[in-house]
């Protein structure tokens, strides 16, 4: 029985027969070997994977674990959600200078000073270009303020309203799978170690896997160090990058920094009326019937998620307007409609003469009520914008 002998021989080397102590040792060795094999096979990422890299380390894609299995993907997604939550309320205050590049239209570059606190409040002071120098944008959890220095105009918009608690809705989208978030790499930004979080169209939806946003989040503090917006072709439309940053500055940021006074500024509430749940609700407050794009004309995954009516306090029906916001869970575009006064009605343009490449367009649409002015604001592809325009016509 050579086989039996061989087994006996191997067993003799590992587990001496009849010895209880030897059998225990053998069993422990077996458990150890099996554990090592299982760990290697299922590829749980090492905890060191998300540790800050040493200064000066070159940007590198995140190390894929063995097989990139479903477990690894889940870990990357969980880490992304953790980072995004941390981003809403960073662990440290910070002061920095950031730069924004617009890649469409004029290719504008802008520099701003930014301050942020641990409540998620942000103050941005624009240094350039000249037309916005001195303007300030203050984003706090309860309210948005935008100060236009040249006009000494302070626009104020409180939120969230009943329907637009955006951060909660975004996380709901992440959890219900409307959008997926995953850590895909890490990079040094402004001398800080950042994890790159990609927001993507989920599997099973039209355009699955398409990246909607990339966010570079400081893996230690949750500070947003860079954000990149992409259109449906995957082309970058804008980036805002922290150039220099001081985390936890020696002089702590005073909370009053986020409630500045602008003496003599004209205060304008941007959303004097509440948000309507549906278009039907809004129509009761408007002197005209808004025109909606056909559902099939909307880009994949987009839906109407906000309607606001304006001008109830204005005497002229031509100063009433409606804002419709459409989103796919991350990206959004707006249609802003109002009736055109008869005296200002110009001939309707031929659709073929239009180009749809710009991110802001004004259309004139003939309706039974008269000519409607429709402002489109967004980053859809030209053919997607054209489909909406044709649908409205």
């Amino acid at each position: 029985m050579p086989d039996a002998n061989a087994q006996t021989s191997r067993g003799g080397r590992c587990c001496p027969p009849l010895s209880l102590e030897g059998r225990i040792v053998c069993a422990l060795r077996l458990v150890f070997v099996l554990s090592a094999l299982l760990a290697a096979f299922f590829g749980t990422p090492a905890s060191g994977q998300f540790q800050p890299a040493p200064e000066g380390r070159k940007p590198q894609p995140i190390r894929r674990t063995a097989g990139g299995g479903p477990n690894a993907a889940r870990v990357r997604q969980a880490r992304a959600r953790q980072l995004l939550r941390m981003m809403l309320k960073p662990k440290q205050q910070y002061i920095g200078v950031q730069e924004t590049h617009l890649y469409e239209g004029t290719g504008l570059i802008s520099e701003q000073e930014i301050e942020g606190d641990t409540n998620g409040s942000i103050k941005v002071l624009f240094r350039s270009p000249a037309n916005v120098r001195g303007d300030m944008m203050i984003i706090t959890p309860g309210i948005f303020r935008s100060y236009h220095s040249s006009a000494r105009l302070l626009e104020v918009a409180p939120w969230p309203t009943e329907y637009n608690d955006e951060s909660n809705r975004m996380f709901a989208n992440l959890l219900n799978g409307t959008v997926t978030a995953s850590v895909t790499g890490n990079e040094i930004v402004a001398d800080r170690q950042a994890d790159i979080v990609e927001l993507k169209v989920p599997n099973g939806a039209a355009g699955a896997g398409r990246v909607l946003r990339r966010l570079w989040i400081d893996d230690e503090t949750g500070i947003l160090l860079k954000i990149q917006k992409l259109n449906a072709l995957g082309h970058t439309t804008s980036t805002t990058t922290m150039e220099t940053i001081t985390v936890n500055p020696a002089n702590a940021i005073n909370p009053n920094e986020f409630k500045p006074q602008f003496p003599g500024a004209t205060i304008t509430p941007l959303f004097p009326a509440p948000q309507y749940r549906t278009m039907e609700d809004a129509q009761g407050h408007l002197p005209f019937t808004p025109i909606e794009p056909a559902p099939q004309a909307l880009p994949a995954n987009f839906h109407l998620d906000g309607v606001w009516g304006f001008g109830e306090d204005r005497a002229h029906p031509y100063l009433h307007s409606v804002l419709m916001r459409f989103t796919d869970g991350v990206a959004s575009f707006s249609l802003y409609e109002r009736l055109v006064p008869p005296a200002k009605q110009t001939p309707i343009e031929a659709p073929l003469r239009r180009t749809f490449g710009r991110n802001q367009q004004t259309w004139r649409i003939q309706t039974q009520q008269g000519v409607m002015s429709v402002q489109y604001i967004g980053h859809l592809l030209p053919e997607q914008t054209a489909a909406i325009y044709q649908s409205l016509r």
Partner: protein, 186 residues
């Protein structure tokens, strides 16, 4: 909604205070009243922007220093000048022309002519289509409504924690429409 008379009265009251408002010399109560009205009245808000902008521009204008003997030199120069013939303004020219016409006209026919013209104007007003039914909306007001669209888009963008409101603002403020004009022009 306020009635028209109240709105007009509030507007007039605000206009009379705009200069002091821009100078920041109103009392706290008056400042509050003006800002409250400006937040509700788009036309007055626009007027206030323009007033404050104009004052800002005037304040930022360069001031020039003169030499110590500037006034003495100026008076000496003025004394040396002879009398200047009165300048014929457009008003003077028209007045002279009217005097000439009046001298040539037969004044006895003037009442008949006036009654005829008045009747013609009255008939034109009574029988022409009622243009008054169409409200006249200023270009400024419609431009403002359009600009509000962009500003509101920025605010909505800012409410999304995963969006870039800075980029949205820059796009709005550099707003080039499809027609190549600044958004807000019709």
């Amino acid at each position: 909604m306020l009635d028209q008379n109240t709105t007009d009265a509030n507007c007039r009251s605000t206009w009379s205070r705009l200069s002091d408002y821009a100078d920041n010399s109103l009392s706290a109560r008056e400042m509050w009243e003006v800002e409250k009205h400006l937040a509700a009245c788009a036309d007055c808000a626009k007027l206030a922007h323009r007033t404050t902008q104009t004052i800002q521009i005037l304040r930022s204008a360069e001031t020039l220093d003169t030499s110590d003997n500037f006034m003495a030199q100026l008076h000496a120069k003025l004394d040396s000048l002879g009398p200047v013939p009165a300048r014929r303004t457009a008003g003077t020219v028209v007045r002279e022309w009217l005097d000439e016409v009046r001298a040539r006209l037969n004044f006895r026919a003037l009442p008949t002519l006036s009654v005829g013209m008045a009747s013609f104007i009255l008939a034109a007003l009574l029988f022409s289509p009622r243009h008054g039914a169409i409200p006249v909306v200023s270009t400024v007001a419609t431009e403002m409504v359009s600009q509000e669209a962009l500003d509101r888009h920025v605010a909505v963008t800012a409410s999304n924690p995963f969006d870039d409101p800075v980029a949205a603002k820059l796009e709005a403020d550099s707003g080039i429409s499809d027609s190549g004009a600044r958004i807000g022009t019709n």
